[in-house]
Structure formats: C-alpha cells, structure tokens
Symmetry: none
Amino acid sequence: MLLGDILNTNAQFLSRELAKLGINVYYQTVVGDNPARLLEAYKTAFGRADVVIATGGLGPTEDDLTKETAALYFGKELALDEESWEMIAAFFRKMHANMAPTNKKQAMMPIGSSVLKNRNGTAPGCFIEEGGKMLFLLPGPPNEAQPMYLNEVAPILRPRTERMFVSKTLKICGIGESQAEEMLKDLIDAQGNPSIAPYAKTSEVWFRITASAKNEGEAAELMKPTLDEIKKRLGRNIYGEDDESLVSVTAMLLMEKGLTLSAAESCTGGELSARLVDFPGISSVFLEGAVTYSNEAKIRRLGVKAATLEKYGAVSPQTAVEMAGGIARTSGSDIGISTTGIAGPDGGTPEKPVGLVYLGLSVKGEASVKELNLAGNRAKVRTRAVVSALDMIRRALLS
Amino acid sequence: MLLGDILNTNAQFLSRELAKLGINVYYQTVVGDNPARLLEAYKTAFGRADVVIATGGLGPTEDDLTKETAALYFGKELALDEESWEMIAAFFRKMHANMAPTNKKQAMMPIGSSVLKNRNGTAPGCFIEEGGKMLFLLPGPPNEAQPMYLNEVAPILRPRTERMFVSKTLKICGIGESQAEEMLKDLIDAQGNPSIAPYAKTSEVWFRITASAKNEGEAAELMKPTLDEIKKRLGRNIYGEDDESLVSVTAMLLMEKGLTLSAAESCTGGELSARLVDFPGISSVFLEGAVTYSNEAKIRRLGVKAATLEKYGAVSPQTAVEMAGGIARTSGSDIGISTTGIAGPDGGTPEKPVGLVYLGLSVKGEASVKELNLAGNRAKVRTRAVVSALDMIRRALLS
C-alpha cells in the first residue's frame, strides 16, 4: 500500500461501517511492516483514540508483525491457541494444500486476548481490551477482513455505542457548489444536529444531512425541518436522493410519461449513451444512440444540412439543433438529445475555445439549445457535457 | 474519507509516484477538517518524515483548513497572492460563474511559501520549506492533485534524490494474469534489479519492470535483457508500453494502414465508441458509432435481418456478424466491429447466461466472430467486452 500498488479499500469499508454505529473515525493511518514504526503507530493511535482497528500483517511470514507488536505494546506473551491451530489445519485440508511450519505462527495469540474467527482464510483475528482501550487485529485481504468485521467486531462494538447516525443525501445538478452553498448558507452556518455536509462531484453537488439519534424514528423527525427547507430552496435543482442517479431519475420520468429518447453524440463520443445504458431498465425508453464524430456521419445519419455545417461549423447551436431533430426523426423517438463541442486538448480557437459545448434538445419537434463553457481536461469536459445533457432532458420532462 | 464515502486514491497515486523517485513512503494518514487534530497530524508527520504531502482542504469554505493550519504550524502569516487571485478570477470568468467572496480565501498563501499552479481547478497548491522540512499542499480532487504533483511537485523533489527508479510497463491483453505469470515464472522468481511486478487490470495484465540506477542510461542497460526476453515470450499478446493504450495502439495501426472503422454496439451501449473517442486523433479513422440496443434499431440502422433475430436471437454469433457487416456497409468503413451480449444483472438464461457476449468483426467484407464468457457485474462485463473488442481489431490489423 505504501508503494501505491493497492488501494486502501479496507479503510473505506471500516470507516463507513463505524459511521453507522455512530463511532467517529478520527484518523486512518497506513504503516509498513517495520517493528519500530509499527510500535510507534500503536502508541500514536492509542494516544488519540479508544478503539483501534488494524488490518494486515497476520500472515505466516517473518514480515507479518501486527500481532507480535501488539503483544509487545500491551506487555503480553504469545501462546498457541489450540482451536485456531485446528481451524488452520482444517482450512489446509479443505484446500488440499500443504501447510508450512510457519503457519503455526498464525495460531499464536497474545495471552488474555479473544480470537476473532476467520471463515475466509487462514489468519484468525484478535481482540485485546485493557485499561479502557480496545484493539482489533484483522487480516489484510478485504474478503477476509470485511466479513470478520461484520461477524466478529461489530457485535462487540454495537452494544457499547449509545447513539446511531442516520443520513440522507440530496443530489443537485445545474447549479455550482458555491452557488448551492450560498443558497443554504444560514442553514449550514447554524447546523447542529442534523449536520449538513456538501460534496462536490463532477457537475453535481450532494448535500448529506446526518442526524445523531437513539433510533431511526427520532432521526427522521430531527432531519425533517432541514430537509423540507433545503428542498423548498433548491427546488428542481435537486434531482434525486440517496441511491438515485441522474440516469435513473431521467429514465423513470421517461417511463412515467411514456416518452422515448435517442441520442446523437459528437464530442461526448458515446459516453451519454453508455451512461444511459448503465441503467438496466432503460431499453424500453432509449431507442438508439448515434456517435457521429465526423461531419459526413452527421449529414448521412442525422440529416444535418451540409450548408449548416459550412456556415456555422460543427460546433454551433444550429448544428446541435439539427442533430437533435435528426436523431429523433430517424429513430422515431419523441425526444432527441445531441452534443457537439470541443473537448480538447486541441481544436480550440479564440472564438470557439476548448470546453465550448452545445447541447441540442428536440421534444416532439420543439427544439431548444444550451451553450456550455466547461473547464477541465478532455475526459472532464466530456463527462460534464454528459451530466448537463441528462439534466437538460430531466428538466424538460419536469416542465 | 473518514466517513467511508471516498476511496483514498490520492494516497495510492502519490505513493506510486514517490516510489519512482526512490522516496520511501513510511506513513499515510487521513485526518478530518478539525483544527486541533490537523495541527497534531502535522506535528506527528514532521516528527517522523522530512517531506510531507497533504491533499484536500484548500477549498473556499470555512471547513477548509489545511493551509491555515500549516501556516500556524510553521508560525507564518497568510497574505493575498495576486497572481493566484487573478487565476481564480479568470477561471470563474471562463466558466461564466459568479465568484463567491469566500473564493478569495483560496488565494491567501503563507508568507514565504511558493505557489503550486492548478490548471484544473480554482485551488492553487502551496510549498513551504523550512529547517530541512518540506510541506506540499495539494487540492483534494484527484484530477487536480495528480497533475499538480506531476507538474509542480515532482520537479522539486527529483533533483534532491540520489538514486532513481526507472520503470517500463509492458501491457498485455488477450491472455489471463496467471497464464502470463506462468510464461514468465522463472524470470519473476529470479528477479533482482530490475524487478518485475504484475498488475491485473480489467481484462489486461501489466508488467512493470523497474531498475534502480544512477541515471537513465544505466537503468536502460539494466532493463534491456529482461525486456527483450519478456517481449520474445509474450509476442503479440503485448499490445503496448507505458502510456500507450489499446485505443491509441489500435488507432495508430488504422492510420498506418489507411483503414477506417465504425462500431455497432448493443450490450456495451456506447462504451466502445466512447473509449475510441478518448483518443484525440481518432476522428480521421473512426467514422461512426451506432448504439442499437433494441432489435428495431438493429434492423433499421444496421440491416440485421428480422429472421436472424427471430431464429438465433439478438445475442448470437449470427447477429454479431450481421451487425458488424451492417455498420461497415452503412457507414462506408473498411472495418465494422459489433458487440451483443447479456450484461446483466437480469436477462440471463441457462443457455445464454449473464456474461455471454459475441463480438463481430467485418474487415473489407470478411467476417469473423468471437464468443466471450465474462465474469463480473454489469459494468465489468461491459468494460471487458470493450477491451476484447479493441483487442480483436488490433490483432486483425496485425495479421
């Protein structure tokens, strides 16, 4: 992990799970298999927290030191745990694999600790509690550490926490982060329980409202006034909540209204179609996508007029409108959406700089167009254009 | 990140890049936007390292404290940096967005620090060097932090390290990770300087060959025998090196041979086109993409026979071949590629399970087809199908 070969997915998993129990995670630290630095890390961690969860370093090799160093930190000896030793042996028999003598190391446990069972590998975990401090040692592989947390660690922690945290996320598109925060400034400044936390996403802003309460009902009650007020202020800029996505919300609106959609993409190159197809139920409303990157394809596939391309260029409101109308007509869809722009890194001019994108929309023959000036690299410009295109469809369906 | 909402990809990126410079990363720490804990984290970090790189907390809100706390730690005042302030204002003008008064906070810099330019967002970075300690402050979003590291931080660190690590990555597609490792087993077992590290990617395997040397020339000499031997053994399974991608390699082959390509996508839903358009130079060879998710679109757009769909189904080698031939013909391209399959989570049957995908290829009228049985969720199946489709084109162009 310190070489950058592995992403620390355990830290994310554990933090998310601990948040559900109302346990605040104050620090995540990664340290290597070095005895001095590892001991120092235990000292630092217990100097600032009551509960420490460590993952990794429970393997059979000499490099694996997490348990040995923990024993040293707490001043404990290690002794063979017969039950763990039998489980390790059984695991090897099941795998038809030969056990190395070093595997015995995995069954050595600090005296006075409790064993955390590992159903998915050979390394048992370990729980030490002393002087108001709790240390949990879990194996490194996520498919071992994560079930062990859920089955062995959470049941120990849960009865010791008094409160729970319940969150709701409101998802916003079409206004920037600072504008959204400005609109909620007094609420954010005065926040207590519930708290209001903004998250900036690519061309989206999410607000997570979190209440600390004894139970779900009390949390819902605490959150209601804040949620109602935010919804009132941001109105249609809020596209959805929690697990909803721009695509899922747009797809549901299309289905409700019995309307079909097709997409003609130039600068986004298929990303808009791909995003729509992310939603498994889309096939009943999304009829067709056309990636018309070249002028020839725009003319042949979509019926864009050569004169329009000549006079205004491929990146123009006129072309965007003809593309949207063309894909709706040739696919027999109620709605056509189009993208044409300059994603960069090359191709920009003073008049038409990189990041200039036009979105065309045709709803039952009625055309509209939107100009975007997007920041970022090629990938970012394309993704922002896709998000804005989805939002343009969504808003048209709401009005 | 402490709530488990975000994976710490910056830590991975920075660790990997620092390893290339021969700089050992001893700790990674995550700490929240809390002044006391943040200050404590700086103290702890500089108690055990000479160089500290921090990401995040450079935004305009009151929660953003990384720079302010760093100034406090080093006993420095903050002052407005006019150039940064001008860049932030220019960024907002380009976005046609209103600047909030709080954005001025982003241009406040500790006196005596150097500004690290941000070309991808509003938050400039900051570099403080004092008493043998170096602190780099980067913004949180990976698309801002990572280019800033490469463009601003690495050039400062590089001249200060004694040995350098030089790596070359060989990228493999079309054979699995264990098969590739088996073919190189004796080389991997006997590795020293250079080292050989495999990385499993989605339907790809990369081998990173790394030499530790005094300079680039010595590194190249050390690596040559290993590179030559791996290339000899893996042959055409190696599609490229370092920054080359399957798309860039395929695009270059198309250009070299003066051939044009179009794509007809069903299960991949536009992702293949989007991946092709990732490569800025693609427009001269990639004529058109069609996302024909429905049977009607396959018939109307591509001329797939209704009888074929009726008799063999949309997910069949016959349909794949007709789709590939159809898109080549209707777009006037030399090469047509098609995808049709069951990406899941629903739609699978015992005969045609989730993960079954057919790729069709038509090269100047000559058809071929490939059956894939892909593991993973909907997104994974689609991405694997896209990678295999690109590799199918690449191999056809090589033969």
